[in-house]
Symmetry: C2
Subunit: 363 residues, 2 copies
DNA sequence: CTGAAAGCGCTTACAG
DNA sequence: CTGAAAGCGCTTACAG
C-alpha cells in the first residue's frame, strides 16, 4: 500500500535541484532564489507533493499536535469546550488528538502515556478525574500541560477555571434573595476541586446571611444521581421538610432535577421551588428549561488555556499558574428573583488555598 | 527542550544488547529470548523508555491514527457519535485526530489535505458538506475513508447511514395515523443526500396515502432556520391555513420548533399539532421535550463505520459500499398516535439511485 | 543561495 | 534468536 508515494527526492529530481532545496521551499523561513523556488513549486504541484509531517516532526522534535483528554461529551459544556479548544488551537497551527477516558483514574493515566508516545507538543486535561500521581508523572515528563475546568491543589500546575467559589456564593445569595430559607445543594463531585469550591462558596454565601443549608448531596456530576437526589429530597417520602430551593452543581444535572420536579413530582418551578445551575450551556437558554445559572465563560477559559499552553510550549514561564475567569449569574425563569436584583459586591474572599496564586482576568 | 530523551539506543546500552533487540522487545510479534527480553524490559523501565511512535510510523508507514472530520458538536447527535467512534477506534488500536470544519466546502477540503499530511491511516468524514471534488481527491489519494451519516451519489464510495428514505416514509405514515392531513416538512439541507432522502421518503409516505404535503421548507439542519420556519408557517401572519403536523429533519431542529410552538405561539403539542423528529438524541427522551422521533441507531452505525474502515485499511474490499442501518420510530409524547399503532410493513422501495448497492443490516 | 552529509528513532530484511 | 546495515522522509548545521 503505497500512499503518499512522492517525496522531496522525487520533486528534487524533477526540478533538477537537491533534496534539501525542496525542503527549504516548503519550510516557513528559508532563503531560496526565486528561480529555484518556482521550479520546485512547479514540480511539486505536478507530482502532487506534500511534505510528510511525520518525518518533519521526527527531525524537528515538534509534532504540531496537542492532546486533549476529556471524560466525555454527554455534558454539552465539554462538547462546546472541545470544539472551541480545537478551533483556538488550530488557529495557532496545532492539530488536536482527542482522547476520551471514562472516569477511572487508571484509564486517564494510560491515555496520557499514549499521548506522550505520540510526541504531542502539549496536553489539555479536561477530565475531572485526574489522579495526582498522573499530574506528578506529567510534571516529571517535562511535557507542557494545563488543566481546563479542573483545579489542582498543587499550585505549580497551570489550571484554568471559572470563579467556582464566587459562583457558589452568588447562587446562595440569589436563592436567598428569592425569599428562600430552606436551600439545598446537589453538588458536583466532592473529590474534585471544582465541586468542593462551588459547595464551599455556596456555604459561605449562606453564612454571609446567617443561613444553614437544608442539605448537601454529592451527585458526582451525574444527572442520574441528581435526579435521584431530587426524588429523595423533594419526593413524598422525604424524611424532613422539603427544601424550597436548590443549587445544582452543573446545568446538566440541573436539567435532570427540573425534569423530576416538574414532570414526576408536579412541583412548579419557580412557583414552588427555585433552581439555579452552573455552566450556562446552550440548552439552559431554551424556554423549555429557562434555567437561571452561574455562567462559565467558555470562550475566555479556552483563550486563557490556549495562550497558557502555547507560552509553555514556547518555553515561556506562564505568568500565572492558576487563572480564574469571572463567573456571572444569568437570570432566567427557574428562580423567582425580585425584579432588578443584582449580585452584591462581596469583599474578596480569602483564598482558600493560601499557596495558590490567583489571577482574575477581566479582558 | 528535550522531552522523551531516552531512546532504544540508551536502553540497548544499559541492557548490553543491540538496539534492534530493544526494538524487537517492544514489537508485537518478535522472537526474543526470555533472558534478553527481561534484561531489556528492566533497563527500559529503569530509564522510563517508551518507543517513539513517530519514528515507528515513519518506518512502518502506518501511523495508527484515524482522522475524523466533523462540522461541529452543537448537534448532540455528533457529540455522541464522536465519542462512540473514538471509543470503537481506540478498541481497534487507533487514535483519533479530530478536525472541526464549519460548513464551507473549502474548509473541509483544507482539513483533508492536512489529514493526509499527517499520514493518517484512514478518515471518517462526518460532515454534511463535503464537496464532490473532495471525495474525488480522496479517492485518488488512495487513502481509505468512509462517509458517516452522509450519503453520496458515487456508489463506489463507502458510506454508512440510517435508512433515511424509510425513516421519512415512516414519519409521514405516523403523522397521518394521528389523523393529520395538513402535514408540513421542515427539512434537512436539500443539498445533502440525507436531507433529500428523508424528504423523498416523507413524500413517498404521503403519496402512499394519497396525500400532499402542506409545505416543504429547507431548514439546512439549522435550529434557527427551523424556528424561523415555525414562526412563518404556524404564526399569526401565515399566508395559508397552518399545518396540523410537522416532520422535522432532525431532533436538534425539532427542539427549536417545539420551543417556538409551545412558548412563543402557545400551541399545544400534541393537542393542536404533532411533531416528529429524526435522530433520537438523548434530550429527545427528556420529559421537557418527549419528542417522538425516527431513531438513528448510532451504535450500529459506528460499528459498521469502524469495521468498514478497518477492513479497507487492511486491504480488504468492503463487502458493501453503502450500508443502511435500520431506522425505527420511537413513540413519545409529541405526536398523538393512536394507542398500539405500529409502523406498517412497506413493500421495499425501489432504490432511488439505481447504481447504488444497498445492504440492510439487521444484526 | 545551494549542495553534500549527518541524523531524528525506529523497523526490517539479511546474515549468522 | 541476535547483530550489523540500510532506510523511512524530512531538517539542519557545514561548507562553498
Amino acid at each position: 500500500m503505497a500512499r503518499q508515494r512522492v517525496t522531496s527526492h522525487d520533486v528534487a529530481k524533477l526540478a533538477g535541484v537537491s533534496q534539501p532545496t525542496v525542503s527549504r521551499v516548503f519550510a516557513p523561513n528559508s532563503r531560496v532564489s526565486a528561480r529555484l523556488h518556482d521550479r520546485v513549486k512547479d514540480a511539486a504541484s505536478r507530482l502532487g507533493y506534500r511534505p510528510n509531517t511525520l518525518a518533519r516532526s521526527l527531525t524537528t522534535g515538534r509534532s504540531g499536535v496537542i492532546g486533549i483528554v476529556l471524560a466525555g461529551l454527554s455534558n454539552p459544556f465539554y462538547a462546546d469546550a472541545l470544539e472551541k479548544l480545537s478551533a483556538a488551537l488550530q488557529a495557532q497551527g496545532y492539530r488536536t488528538l482527542v482522547f476520551f477516558s471514562a472516569n477511572h483514574a487508571a484509564e486517564v493515566d494510560g491515555v496520557v502515556e499514549d499521548l506522550i508516545d505520540h510526541q504531542v507538543d502539549g496536553i489539555v486535561l479536561a477530565s475531572v478525574s485526574i489522579s495526582n500521581t498522573l499530574t506528578e508523572r506529567l510534571k516529571t515528563s517535562d511535557l507542557p500541560f494545563v488543566l481546563f475546568n479542573r483545579g489542582q491543589i498543587d499550585a505549580s500546575i497551570p489550571s484554568i477555571t471559572a470563579q467556582n467559589t464566587l459562583g457558589g456564593r452568588i447562587a446562595a445569595h440569589a436563592l436567598a434573595a428569592c425569599g428562600h430559607r430552606r436551600i439545598a445543594h446537589f453538588s458536583g463531585w466532592q473529590q474534585s476541586l471544582n465541586g468542593q469550591e462551588r459547595q464551599a462558596g455556596f456555604l459561605q454565601g449562606l453564612a454571609d446571611l446567617g443561613l444553614q443549608p437544608h442539605s448537601l448531596t454529592d451527585c458526582a456530576y451525574r444527572p442520574q444521581q441528581a435526579a435521584e437526589a431530587a426524588r429523595h429530597v423533594f419526593g413524598p417520602t422525604a424524611a424532613e421538610r422539603a427544601p424550597d430551593a436548590v443549587f445544582v452543581g452543573n446545568d446538566n444535572m440541573a436539567f435532570a432535577v427540573l425534569d423530576v420536579l416538574r414532570y414526576e413530582l408536579g412541583i412548579d418551578v419557580p412557583g414552588d421551588v427555585s433552581v439555579i445551575g452552573f455552566d450556562d450551556v446552550p440548552a439552559a437558554a431554551s424556554p423549555a428549561y429557562a434555567l437561571t445559572t452561574v455562567r462559565q465563560p467558555t470562550n475566555r477559559m479556552v483563550a486563557a488555556t490556549v495562550s497558557t499552553l502555547c507560552a509553555m510550549i514556547d518555553g515561556t514561564q506562564p505568568l500565572h499558574t492558576h487563572i480564574e475567569i469571572e463567573s456571572t449569574l444569568i437570570q432566567r425563569g427557574s428562580a423567582r428573583l425580585p425584579k432588578g436584583w443584582t449580585v452584591p459586591l462581596f469583599a474578596p474572599l480569602a483564598p482558600d488555598l493560601p499557596s495558590q496564586e490567583r489571577a482574575k482576568i477581566d479582558a
